[in-house]
C-alpha cells in the first residue's frame, strides 16, 4: 500500500470543533466549500487533491436559524458522495451528535425508525466507517452494516468531576433524571465511589415533563445530574426543583450533547440549576457563551475525537479511549 494521509473535511455545522481537531492532529485543513444556493440546494466543491487519501468528515446534528439539521445531514451525505467520486481510499464520518438518534424505535404504529434510515442513507452515500459519541441508544450501532465506533464522553466527565469537586468528601451524589440513564450514572458512581439517586418521570408528550418521583436520599448533598443530552432543558430544570424540594444543597447538571433548543439557557439561568456542564459535541455561539458564562461550562472532547481519528488511521485499538482522556 502506498502511504496515504489523514484529510479532515468540515461541514458547516461545527467549524470550531474541526479547528481544534486538526490542531491536535497537527495537519492542515482540507479546503472544501460547502454552500447553500439561493434555491436552498447544497453544493460541495473540494479544492485540494484527495485522491487515495483517508478522509474524515466532521459534521454534527444541530439546528441553526438558517440551516437546520436536515441541511447538515444532506451536506454530510453530499460531501461523502463527493469524496467517494473523487476516488478517496476511505471515508469516515465523524458525527459527535448523531442525527435523529432519538428516533430509534417504532414507538407508535406507522412511525418511522429514522435513525435506521439515516444509517442506511449514510451507507448508500458511500460512508465506510462512522465515529460518534455517546449514542442515545448504543443499539444504533447495529443499524449500520459498516463499522461504528461509539466513543464515550465518560472519561472526560470523570476528569471534570475530579478536577472541580472533592470526591472524597462524600457530600456529592450523582442523580439520573430518568430511569433510562440509570446505567450511565451507576457506572460513573462506581468509578468515583459515590452514591447515586434516580428520578422517575412519567412523560405525557415528548419534550414536556409531567411528574417526577425521587428514589434515594439527597438531603444536604451536592447533586450532579447526569444525562446524555439536554434539549429544551425542561427535564433537568424540573429535576433540580424536585431535588431542592427534597433538601439538596445545590445541583449542577452534566450532559454530553447540548442541543439547547427553545431558549434552553435562559431557562437554566432562571432555574434551581447552578450550572449546566456540557461537552462541545455541539457548538455554542459566542453570544450565548458571554451571556450565560456564570451558568455554563464546556468540556472539550476534541482530544478524544482527534486521538480516535489518529488511531483509526494507523490501525490501532480505540478501546483505550473508552476509559482514558488523551493528553
Amino acid at each position: 500500500m502506498s502511504s496515504n494521509s489523514i484529510k479532515v473535511l468540515a461541514g458547516n455545522s461545527h467549524p470550531e470543533l474541526t479547528n481544534k481537531i486538526i490542531e491536535k492532529l497537527g495537519i492542515d485543513k482540507t479546503n472544501v466549500f460547502v454552500q447553500n444556493y439561493t434555491n436552498r440546494e447544497t453544493c460541495v466543491a473540494i479544492a485540494d487533491n484527495i485522491r487515495d487519501e483517508d478522509v474524515y468528515i466532521i459534521q454534527t446534528g444541530i439546528d441553526h436559524e438558517d440551516l437546520n439539521i436536515n441541511d447538515y445531514l444532506m451536506e454530510l451525505m453530499i460531501m461523502v458522495h463527493c469524496c467517494k467520486t473523487a476516488s478517496v481510499r476511505k471515508v469516515t464520518c465523524v458525527i459527535p451528535n448523531f442525527f435523529y438518534a432519538r428516533q430509534d424505535r417504532k414507538d407508535k404504529s406507522r412511525s418511522p425508525i429514522t435513525a435506521k434510515l439515516v444509517a442506511n442513507l449514510l451507507t448508500t452515500a458511500g460512508c465506510d466507517h462512522v465515529i460518534t459519541m455517546d449514542l442515545h441508544a448504543s443499539q444504533i450501532q447495529g443499524f449500520f452494516s459498516i463499522p461504528v465506533d461509539n466513543l464515550y464522553a465518560e472519561p472526560s466527565t470523570l476528569k471534570y468531576i475530579k478536577d472541580n469537586y472533592d470526591v472524597n468528601q462524600k457530600d456529592l451524589i450523582l442523580v439520573s433524571p430518568d430511569a433510562g440513564g440509570a446505567k450511565r450514572v451507576a457506572s460513573l458512581a462506581d468509578k468515583l465511589d459515590l452514591q447515586f439517586a434516580l428520578l422517575h418521570k412519567e412523560r405525557a408528550v415528548a419534550n414536556e415533563v409531567s411528574r417526577m418521583v425521587l428514589v434515594g436520599d439527597v438531603k444536604g448533598k451536592n447533586c450532579i445530574l447526569i444525562d446524555d443530552m439536554a434539549d429544551t432543558c425542561g427535564t433537568l430544570c424540573k429535576a433540580a426543583e424536585i431535588l431542592k424540594e427534597n433538601g439538596a444543597k445545590q445541583t449542577i447538571a452534566m450532559v454530553t450533547h447540548a442541543i439547547l433548543s427553545n431558549n434552553a439557557l435562559e431557562r437554566v439561568k432562571n432555574s434551581e440549576l447552578k450550572k449546566l456542564v456540557f461537552t462541545n459535541t455541539n457548538p455554542i455561539s459566542e453570544q450565548d457563551k458571554q451571556n450565560y458564562k456564570e451558568c455554563i461550562d464546556v468540556i472539550d472532547i476534541s482530544g478524544t475525537l482527534a486521538e480516535a481519528i489518529r488511531r483509526l488511521h494507523n490501525g490501532e485499538s480505540i478501546s483505550y479511549l473508552f476509559t482514558h482522556v488523551p493528553l
Binding site: R40, N70, S109, N207
Partner: protein
Amino acid sequence: MSGDLVVVGGTSHPDLVTAICEKLNIKQTTSSIKNFANGETSIQILESVREKDVFVIQSGCGHVNDNLMQLLILISSCKIASCNRITVVIPYFCYSRQADIPFQSKGAPKLLNDGKKANENFQDFDNSGNKLFVSQNGTLIANLLTTAGADHVITMDLHDPQFQGFFNIPVDNLYSRPILEDYIKWEIEDYKVDLDSCVIVSPDAGGAKRATKIADSLGVPFAMIHKEKKMRATADENNLETSKVPSMQRADSYTSKFITTTMLVGDVNNKICIMIDDLVDTGYTMLRAAKLLKQQKCKKLIIVITHGIFSGDAIERIIEANKQHNLIEKLILTNTIPQTEHLKQFTEGGIDCKILDVSTILSEAIRRIHNGESISSLFERGWH
C-alpha cells in the same frame, strides 16, 4: 395486482396534493408531520397503509433539504408500515441540475452564508491549477430515494433526460408539453390570428431540443439564444469578428476571468416571441434573453416556464427589469411548485401571469400506474 390506491402528501405543496386527490376521487391519507424542538422531522402515518399501493407526493421546492428528508422519512414510514409498493411523485425534481462551477459573479445561484468571502477564497483556488472537484448530486439523490424504499418515481420535465439513468428503479418522466401547447394554441390570440407572426425561442442551448419539439408540433419557426463563455484573453478578437456579422447580436458582460456573450440565432424582428424553458431559478438567464429579444425588436414576449422556482430576489428583479424595459407581455407557469404567492407578487408588480394546472396529468399517471396501464399516451396528448 396491488392493493388500494393511497395518496400520502408531504408539506411542500398541499394544494397540488388536494387537487390530485380530488381528481382521483379519493381522500388523502392523514399523516402527522411535525418538527421536534431540535429541528428533526417527526412523522407518523395515521391511517393503515398495509398492503396498499402508496403514492407519496412531494415537490422539491422551498426548503429543499428539509422537504427531501421529509420525503425520505415518509417513504421509510410507509415501507415500515408494510405497504405493498411506494411510488414517489416529485413534480419538480430537486438537485436535477448538475452544478457546474459553483459561484459566478452572475448567472449561477448566489450563496446564502458569507457569500463574498467564500467567493474570494474560491477564486484563489481557481487560479492555483488544481481544478475544483464539484459534487454531482444526481446519483446520490437517486440512491437515497431507492434506499429509503421507493419502488417507482414519477416526475415532470426533468432538466436532464439522463437523470432517469441514475435510478435503478423505473422513472416516468412526464411532459408538461401537451398542456403548454394547448395553452399556446387556444389562449394566445396572436397565434390564432397569424401563425407566421410567432416564433418559439429557447433561452439557452440546453433547452433547444425541448423548444424545437414544441415549435415543430405548432408549426412555427424557431430561434435560439446561445450563451458562450470564453477566456478573457481571446475576447477582443471575438468582438471584432462578430461586428462583421450583422445578424448575430452580442451582449457582453465581464466577469473576473471569463467573458459571457449571448447571441441570437434566428429572426425575431417584429414577431411574437414565445420563450420556452423548463425552469427559472434566479431568473438571470431569462432576463438576459428577454433583453436581447427586446434589442432585436421583437413585438411581444410571452414566457412559458414549467418549473418557476424564483429563488432569492428573483421576483423583485424580474418585476424591476420589466418596469424599466417593459419586457414581458405574459408569463405562463405551471403549478409543479406552489405558485400562489409568486402569482400574487407578479400581479402586484404589473406582470400578467397565468398558472397552468398539471394535476390532471399527474393524477392520470397515478391512476394508470396503479391500474398497470400504459402512460405513453400522456406524453403526446396530455389528458383533458
